[in-house]
C-alpha cells in the first residue's frame, strides 16, 4: 500500500499523541490512585445518620492527623450541612491551613446535587444512595466558594458554602 509522505507524518503524530494521552491516564489511575468519586460505597438515603460519617456530631471539619483533615457533609435541597459551631449556628465556612490534605465525604438525602469547590479540583456529583469522596491537597491560599453544580430544584442557587485556605 502506498502512503503519501505527509500521511505518514500525520499518522505518526496521531499515534504518538494517543500513546502519550494513554500513558498520562495510566499514570493518574495506577500511580496517583485517581478513581471515580462515587459509586464505590452505598448508603440508605432515608437514614444517612446511621452511617458513622454522617452522624450530626461528625459533620463538618475534623483534624485527623497533622495537616490531614476530613470534612463530612450532608447535602439536601437546598443546603450543605457542615454541622454546627460552638454557638449551635450552622457552619458555612471551612478553614484549613495551606498545604493540608482534606478528604471531603458527602452524600445526598434527596436528589442529585453537585459539590464543587470552585478554583480547586474538588468537583463531585452527589447522588442519593451513594457516598462521594474526594481527597485534595489545598495548595493555594484564598477563599474558594462551594457551589452546587447539578440543578437540584428551585433553590439550587442557594446551595453554597466557603473553603478558606490560610
Amino acid at each position: 500500500m502506498h502512503l503519501h509522505k505527509y500521511e505518514k507524518v500525520w499518522l505518526t503524530f496521531g499515534m504518538a499523541s494517543l500513546i502519550i494521552f494513554l500513558l498520562v491516564i495510566g499514570f493518574a489511575a495506577f500511580w496517583k490512585g485517581t478513581h471515580p468519586q462515587s459509586h464505590l460505597e452505598t448508603i440508605d438515603q432515608n437514614n444517612v445518620e446511621a452511617h458513622d460519617s454522617f452522624k450530626p456530631e461528625n459533620l463538618g471539619l475534623t483534624e485527623v492527623a497533622d495537616g490531614k483533615y476530613k470534612v463530612n457533609i450532608v447535602a439536601s435541597a437546598f443546603n450543605y450541612d457542615f454541622g454546627v459551631d460552638k454557638d449551635e449556628k450552622p457552619v458555612k465556612t471551612i478553614r484549613v491551613p495551606q498545604g493540608s490534605t482534606v478528604l471531603f465525604t458527602i452524600t445526598s438525602k434527596d436528589v442529585v446535587h453537585g459539590f464543587q469547590v470552585a478554583g480547586t479540583n474538588v468537583n463531585m456529583m452527589v447522588e442519593p444512595g451513594h457516598i462521594s469522596r474526594y481527597e485534595a491537597v489545598m495548595k493555594n491560599k484564598g477563599e474558594f466558594t462551594i457551589v452546587c453544580n447539578e440543578y437540584c430544584g428551585i433553590g439550587h442557587h442557594q446551595m453554597f458554602g466557603k473553603v478558606e485556605v490560610y
Binding site: 505527509y6 500525520w10 494521552f21
Partner: protein
Amino acid sequence: MTKKHVSNKVPTPEVSSNLKGTFIMVMILGFLMVGAWFGAYWLFISR
C-alpha cells in the same frame, strides 16, 4: 432524448496534487488539539 457521450479516449493516470497546504492545516489542527489537552491537564495539576 439525451445522447450518451462515449469517449474513446484512454484514461490518463491521475496527477498527484500538491498536498502541502492540507498538511500544514492538519498539523495546525493537531497541535491545537494537543495544546488544548495539555492546557486542561496543566490546570488540573496546578490547582
